[in-house]
């Protein structure tokens, strides 16, 4: 499986509040850009997998598989919606990878899309909380920021992680986002900005949180042995891993560890035959600042509890030892939940093709994507490489 599948084209809309575009418009825009980038004709797309968390709730439209194939002009092509909360399109990428690696299809379009801004913030908060345990968590009033706040408070208690360290994650990602023309927020912020922003769920504040966004992303993947017919710079899928954990945070022995991440990373590293220290850059799921600290630890970049030190030392900034979220991450680039996993693959692909402009990580050979659903009840990790190895 390792190296058998390559990313041959990428596309994405700007992540933003797109008041004048519909979910289907956003998807088609990203898909056409990916097809153009891959120099693949529509008629050569053999299947589609679409990550989306909650179109049934946000825009009252389900059955996205056929809808989006139809609007992309290829009705007839097999097309499936994949749902795993905020990890939906990372999981769609996994399914696309499996279908190509299994020999079922030679060219596949994998996309992700979410349209969130058509409803009030309270409605979005409600819809997002359906990814928690509806009966035993969300019913009582806990929200997604609330669940990550519960994790943050335990992490601070158990390891001495500070409020300032959390703020530094947002500061770093906003700085990176200022170099990304497709980011929702392209402006730098200061630690004081974060610490003075309104509380959302103590101790997390507005500027610890990723925004509500609209957007779509798409990639074209193909069997590696035909990839060079389309592009001089295929990016290979070296490793893929996915796992689950208890749906409710309270059922986990230690809520500061996202076990799904540990398990998914183990599978991906093992398939790719790489170690955490071999990774040159990572796009991780910083839905809240604490989530990026957890990612450093659960992906094995540092030991459990030392994530705060990594941000203090600047190791994860552009120019650091392992730049994390050069795109701006979910925090600054935006987080249309169902599109995030594919947007991460788009960024890592651009980085490995040396096409990331002002945010380019130098000498990037191996990149990692980390996409989690809910409070970590699902996780999908991919490792991509410039060479097939």
């Amino acid at each position: 499986m390792r190296g058998d599948v390559a990313v041959i084209g990428v596309g994405m809309t700007k992540f933003d509040e797109h008041w004048n575009k519909q979910l289907r418009d956003l998807f088609v825009e990203a898909a056409l850009e990916a097809l153009d980038d891959a120099r693949v004709d529509l008629k050569d797309v053999k299947a589609m997998f679409i990550g989306n968390m909650g179109s049934g709730m946000w825009v009252e439209q389900e059955h996205l598989g056929p809808l989006l194939a139809d609007y992309l002009g290829i009705p007839g092509v097999p097309s499936l919606k994949v749902e795993s909360a905020c990890a939906s399109s990372g999981m769609a990428f996994r399914l696309g990878f499996m279908s190509v690696a299994a020999g079922l299809h030679d060219i596949v379009l994998v996309g992700g899309v979410e349209k969130m801004s058509d409803v009030t913030t309270g409605e979005s908060t409600h819809h997002l909380a359906t990814a928690a345990d509806r009966e035993w968590e969300a019913f009582y009033g806990v929200t997604f920021p609330g669940l990550f706040a519960l994790i943050a408070r335990r992490h601070m208690k158990q390891y001495g992680t500070t409020r300032e360290q959390l703020a530094k994650v947002a500061v770093k990602n906003h700085k990176h986002g200022s170099y990304n023309p497709k980011a929702q927020y392209q402006r730098a912020i200061s630690i004081d900005d974060v610490l003075n922003s309104p509380l959302v769920a103590d101790p997390l504040r507005l500027l610890d949180s990723s925004p509500i966004s609209d957007g779509a992303a798409a990639v074209i993947i193909a069997r590696s042995d035909i990839a060079r017919r389309f592009t001089d710079t295929p990016v290979y899928v070296l490793g893929s891993g996915t796992a689950t954990d208890t749906i409710a945070l309270h059922d986990r022995d230690d809520i500061t560890i996202l076990r799904s991440v540990v398990l998914a990373a183990k599978e991906a590293y093992s398939m790719a035959k790489v170690e955490p220290e071999d990774v040159n850059l990572a796009e991780v799921h910083d839905c809240f600042t604490i989530a990026e600290i957890l990612a450093y630890e659960d992906l094995g970049f540092v030991k459990k509890g030392e994530g705060g030190r990594l941000i203090d030392e600047g190791m994860t900034e552009l120019g650091g030892k392992i730049p994390v979220n050069p795109s701006g991450g979910l925090k600054a680039k935006g987080h249309p939940v169902g599109a995030t996993g594919i947007a991460q693959v788009v960024e890592v692909t651009l980085q490995l093709r040396n096409e990331a402009g002002k945010r380019q990580v130098s000498n990037a050979e191996i990149g990692l994507t980390h996409n989690i659903g809910g409070s970590g009840a699902s996780c999908v990790v991919h490792i991509l490489g410039r060479s097939r190895r």
Partner: protein, 139 residues
């Protein structure tokens, strides 16, 4: 505003006993306790369970103040939510009431209290379940 995802009466009634009496599941093989009813133990895979009333006292394991509530609870905010570790070892998610967030911390002792959670609509049914409040010493 759409109200489509708010729980409906039949669903609430299915869960009423578990919520009103804090009924959980005890795995007869490994002893692990869970809120609600389970048929397979995620820890030891046993299918032997008994349904028990959970302890009504415990300690705060972690807590937060929800200042941006979901639509169905907008009029209640801000409010405190916590993971409570009950004296029998079971953990659950609950609202902490009858105090301010400055009066509690990780480790604060709390006890269950039967309260209103919300309502379906002005004419619809009212949801009830357990919230927790700090234990008042010497009472």
């Amino acid at each position: 505003m759409s109200n489509m995802s708010v729980p409906k009466a039949p669903r609430i009634w299915q869960l009423a006993e578990r919520r009103y009496r804090l009924v959980g599941s005890k795995c007869l093989k490994c002893g692990r306790l869970f809120v609600g009813l389970r048929k397979v133990c995620p820890q030891c895979k046993s299918t032997e369970f008994e349904y028990v009333e959970l302890s009504r006292r415990g300690k705060i394991y972690s807590y937060t103040v929800i200042r941006a509530p979901p639509m169905e609870r907008e009029k209640y905010g801000p409010y405190i939510m916590a993971i409570v570790e009950l004296d029998d070892g079971c953990r659950l998610t609950a609202e902490i009431v009858d105090c301010s967030s400055e009066e509690i911390d990780i480790g604060t002792e709390v006890e269950a209290t039967f309260r209103k959670i919300g309502e379906e609509s002005e004419s619809g049914i009212i949801y009830y379940a357990c919230k927790f409040r700090p234990v008042v010493k010497g009472v």
